[in-house]
Amino acid sequence: MTTTKTENTKIAIRDLNLHYGSKQALSNISMDIAPKNVTALIGPSGCGKSTFLRTLNRMNELIDNVRIDGSVRIDNVEIYDKQVDVVELRKRIGMIFQKSNPFPKSIFDNVAYGPRINGIHDRKRLEEIVETTLKRAAIWDEVKNDLGKSALALSGGQQQRLCIARALAVDPEILLMDEPASALDPIATAKIEELIYELKQSYTIVIVTHNMQQAARVSDFTAFFYMGELIEMDSTKTMFTAPTKKQTEDYITGRFG
């Protein structure tokens, strides 16, 4: 168990356990996630990294039979507290999924979905928000002339950046990305990675990735999961040059996984 101490902590996880029915998927995870940094979660598939990611915005609750105990604090607020409203929580945390999942609506309506949900219907305001977020997601120039076009007509990489824009439109502080580039070609992937680099100026980003090089390229911190446990976490540089655990080294050097 490694706890990385940083100058401050955005998300503090303590003794987190998660069970699917009788099967334990996460055991005793404790971790601190630094604000305005990129934290990469790596590990072989089925190691619990995606499950872990979803505990941060309580998306696991959508699955029946899930039991979670332990503590997750964001800005020192316990998000598993009974008093916490999960909808309010999710408004403050953006999530990007493995497979891009734009709504079958126009590009504009995709981005405007979140603001509209929050009660913004003024066309001008929406237009402003859409433009700003699309610019932030580095896709404005590609779509500015056909905002009315169906989002499904975009390429995979564009769709994924649109999804990022959609998440940014509700102005979250944290972005959770679940293998956002795994379905994309190298050029589209590079664009996403570039974007992540830009975004970390303003957002706390947690990214699950399969791709070791990607973790090395985009992240400031890396956490290695194996069999539902957090094996090791440190600055990415340390993790990739001098991991303390044998398992981490084996995985990073490609000996298994």
Partner: protein, 389 residues
């Protein structure tokens, strides 16, 4: 960056108020704060659980409506049986038998003609004898009787002829429909080239979409005369015509469920057989068909249930004379047709009304049991498909 101890809460909150995304500050109020209504970062206050009226109402309303559709369904059960119940609690009425038999009722089915008239003389005799000591009310013994004459002066409510009538037509239709439908299903599942399937499937869909009154009309106007000319039997409308017409309504059900069962047989089974050198037809007959037996059996059960409850076809094509006979070439009156023909003319709440509801309750129970039995044999998915859902 590494060794700094965790900072205090206050500081973190302060920190968070830092100008958010630089590029967003351009349109202040556009995004932060205003952009999201009351989103104010991660504070206990901001995240406090709130009560959402619309959410609450939507959930309650949806649950209530779901409950209503359940209640409606339960109510069908309750009301059909409720109206049938008085039959079992009727006080014994003292009533001297009126020996003079009344006019035979016709319910306006002119077309059934000869059969009915031919029988009526004979009936009158029998009726006189039978009713000599009993009363015209539906005691249980009366129900079990062999005469159905609800509108005569001495009403007789023997449902036996109706039950036998229903069974006759149903059995006949199953005997005709099953071999055709199952063979056709086997053909589709095992032998049919692509083009044949593309002809067959829509044809079945069309057949399944025929309103039963259309099939009844066809049987009454075309089929009945055709068959009579062909075979030269006495009554134009009879159990045979009804059964044949009913087969048309039942074939799509049996076909669809049987075909589903046949195609659901795992590939490896037929492939194993083919690999052993068995020919296509041997595989179909000795591997696929036996493996799909439960589904095929269920198909027949479902067809049986459908035929038993079907009303319009029998109402139009069977002649509707309530005679107790096992001859398939004589007119019959089924339970469903009896309800359909007589319910509009009864006095609410009287014995006749109650007995008709009893017939309905029997239909309900019987089809329910058949469906339940079929469900044992096939999975839900198949059942849905059969219901055209």
């Amino acid at each position: 960056m590494n060794q700094t101890p965790p900072v205090s809460m206050n500081f973190m909150r302060e920190d968070r108020k830092d100008p958010a995304p630089p590029s967003l500050t351009g349109n202040t109020g556009g995004m932060s704060g205003a952009g999201n209504g009351n989103v104010t970062g991660f504070t206990t206050q901001g995240l406090r659980r709130r009560f959402r009226w619309d959410e609450f109402l939507a959930e309650k309303l949806i649950t209530v409506v779901a409950f209503i559709s359940l209640a409606a369904i339960v109510m069908i059960f309750v009301f059909v049986f409720r109206e049938a119940l008085p039959i079992f609690f009727q006080p014994e009425k003292e009533e001297t038998a009126v020996v003079e038999s009344a006019e035979e009722e016709t319910y306006g089915e002119e077309y059934l003609g000869e059969a009915h008239r031919a029988r009526s003389e004979e009936d009158r005799e029998a009726s006189r004898a039978e009713t000599a000591g009993s009363e015209g009310r539906a005691t249980l013994s009366n129900l079990a009787g062999t005469r159905w004459q609800p509108v005569s002066a001495v009403p007789q409510y023997g449902i036996l002829p109706l039950v036998v009538g229903s069974l006759k037509v149903t059995l006949l239709s199953i005997l005709i429909a099953s071999p055709v439908a199952i063979l056709a299903a086997l053909f589709t599942a095992s032998f049919a080239p692509r083009w044949a399937k593309e002809v067959l499937k829509p044809a079945i869909e069309i057949l399944a979409g025929f309103p039963s009154v259309v099939i009844g009309f066809f049987a009454l106007v075309v089929l009945a005369s055709l068959l009579q000319n062909l075979f030269g039997y006495e009554y134009r409308l009879n159990a045979f015509v009804g059964g044949l017409a009913m087969a048309l309504a039942v074939i799509p059900i049996i076909y669809t469920v049987a075909e589903d069962a046949l195609t659901a047989v795992p590939r490896y089974m037929s492939e194993a057989s083919l690999a052993l050198g068995a020919s296509k037809w041997q595989t179909a007959l000795f591997v696929t068909l036996p493996a799909a037996t439960p589904g095929v059996f269920a198909a027949v059960l479902l067809g049986f249930g459908r035929a038993f409850g079907e009303t319009m076809i029998v109402l139009m094509a069977t002649g509707n004379a309530a005679m107790l006979s096992l001859n398939f070439l004589e007119p019959v009156r089924t339970m469903s047709a009896t309800i359909g023909a007589e319910m509009a003319e009864v006095v609410f709440g009287d014995t006749h009304y109650t007995v008709l509801f009893l017939l309905g309750a029997i239909l309900f129970l019987f089809t329910f049991l058949l469906n339940a039995a079929a469900e044992v044999f096939i999975r839900q998915r198949l059942l849905k498909r059969f219901r055209g859902l």
